[in-house]
Amino acid sequence: MTAAIRVMVVDDHPMWREGVSRDLTAAGYDVVATSGEGRQAVRIAAAARPDVVVLDLQLPDVSGVEVINGLQTEVPGVRVLMLSASGEQQDVLDAMKAGATGYLLKSAGQAEFLDAVSRTAAGDTVFTPGLAGLVLGEFRRLAVTEPAGADEGAPKLTERETEVLRLVAKGLSYKQIAERLVLSHRTVQNHVQNTLGKLQLHNRVELTRYAIEQGLD
């Protein structure tokens, strides 16, 4: 590692913020800023220019989606690893669609957390089994509510992508999946990343279409 990776920690819980910052510093990261509020976080990020933001999904002032949108405007190319203490539900899915690149439960172990940060920094996506279930569910929902034949049509997963996501949801590690499907670790990682990419692209297209329909273009 030539220059230390710049990390920002956003969480409304001071104890958590401190603990996470300490761990990150000990692991060789440069914690450039911390914040307990979403709006403030976006302002600080504009000046601190972090590479990775470790973001708590539930902030007191604004939603995770709004923070992610703000971060992407202020710091293009920033990677967002989301953490949440509560279950993996609609708000997690919304944040991922808005552009977060990783998701982890707060109860994950220290090693798992540091691994997730380094993978996020490297540009990989970090999936939990729960998130894989949500993403698969979302693709199926889109397939039902937006039947093919419509203009852009619903985004679809390839058979391989579906297969990989199902195995992630069943709790297999990338290594186990690679073994089972006779693929390289990198290919498994790419398949997972593609599924998220399709979902995020669809989300942007939807937002644009909505804006045009509402005459906001």
Partner: protein, 378 residues
């Protein structure tokens, strides 16, 4: 019940009866003035009217107090009004009554009947209406249609009022229950927020800091992690959706409570509605599979519960990261009927027209895949 009786819904009824009594007294006074020349003893009509007026004033105040709306007052009310009605025989006179002159009470005697209906419901109202109606008919001493019509109308009014009161009571009870439920829900949400902001975060932090440590610290961290997962499930809010929607149940809401530090539950963000019976059977099959893992694998084995909602079928997979079984051993055990759990799972899913696939390999854990068709085969 007593609360419902003193409720805000009943008070207006008592006020309405008081207004009715005053209006009926005014009407009676007008008719007495108009008919007085036909009376047998006209001079006595005034004292009776005075008594009626006094009684009207008294009852207006007496019934205003919920504590006094009891049998003694109601029975006295009936008696006083019946006495005023009966006095018509002597004052108006038989002849005038038989030729169709009204009684001194005219319609004033309906008031206590309505009181009984409000206080004792439909049955009390009917009883009072029959007694008062019989007295009215006896006083009039002629039984033509117009005389009967008055009593029948009084009976119908008593029934209607009694029914109205019953409806008001039920509505009041429902309202109170809804208010209670709402308060409980709001309290639960507040608790969930508080727990989320404090306890959950600290537990997660403890688990994080201690993970990987040996001995007591590691054990404490593990315990904190378990409690964190349990609390998270509790305040997650999914439970609220367990109530059946029509005859369907949300499978996700049924399965979410199984999430612990070692059991991960994943599936779509929205509800996975299934016929209630199928959903319960699937839950029982999942519980059996989890139980099987707990019995045969090392403690701390991770389990993944995965729900897929396809248009044609619902697939639930229970996969453990623990001891895989050699495929031929599994088949062997099953063939010998020793795999009780597997059979109970197969039985339940088979009854729903579904299939069970058990995949197991050493080092990759065991995977139980249960698929149930969305449209039951008839």
């Amino acid at each position: 019940m007593p609360d419902a009786r003193n409720s805000g819904l009943e008070a207006p009824l008592w006020r309405a009866i008081a207004v009715y009594r005053i209006a009926a007294l005014t009407y009676a006074t007008i008719l007495v003035i108009g008919n007085i020349s036909y009376y047998k003893r006209p001079m006595l009509a005034w004292p009776v009217l005075a008594v009626m007026a006094a009684w009207t004033v008294f009852t207006t105040y007496a019934y205003a107090d919920p504590a006094r709306r009891r049998a003694p007052l109601l029975l006295t009310d009936m008696a006083v009004v019946m006495a005023a009605l009966t006095a018509s025989i002597e004052i108006v006179g038989r002849h005038s009554l038989e030729t169709g002159r009204p009684t001194l009470a005219v319609a004033w005697h309906v008031a206590p009947v309505l009181c009984c209906a409000v206080r004792f419901g439909r049955r009390g109202g009917i009883a009072a209406a029959l007694v008062m109606g019989a007295t009215d008919l006896l006083v009039r001493a002629h039984y033509d249609q117009s005389a009967l019509t008055g009593s029948v109308l009084m009976l119908l009014a008593a029934i209607a009022v009694g029914y109205l009161v019953r409806i008001a009571e039920v509505a009041q009870e429902r309202l109170e229950r809804a208010v209670e439920l709402e308060a409980a829900t709001r309290e639960r949400e507040r608790l969930a927020r508080d727990i989320h902001d404090s306890v959950l975060q600290v537990l997660a932090l403890v688990k994080r800091r201690g993970a990987g440590l040996d001995g007591e610290a590691g054990e404490l961290a593990r315990l904190a992690g378990e409690q964190e997962a349990a609390l998270r499930t509790l305040v997650g809010g999914r439970q609220a959706a367990v109530d059946p929607v029509g005859d369907e149940l949300d499978l996700m809401a049924l399965l979410h409570p199984y999430a612990t530090a070692d059991v991960t539950v994943s599936g779509p963000a929205g509800a996975v509605p299934l016929p209630a019976h199928a959903a319960r059977e699937l839950r029982a099959a999942v519980a059996a599979a989890l139980d099987n893992v707990a019995r045969h694998c090392d403690p701390g084995t991770k389990v993944y519960l995965f729900v897929e909602d396809d248009p044609g079928q619902v697939v639930v997979t229970v996969r453990d990261d623990g001891c895989g079984i050699e495929p031929d051993r599994l088949a062997q055990a099953e063939a010998q009927g020793r795999l009780g759990v597997a059979q109970s799972i197969r039985g339940r899913i088979g009854d729903l027209g579904g299939e069970v696939r058990i995949v197991s390999a050493p080092g990759q854990g065991t995977e139980v895949e249960m698929s149930v068709p969305r449209v039951p085969i008839s």
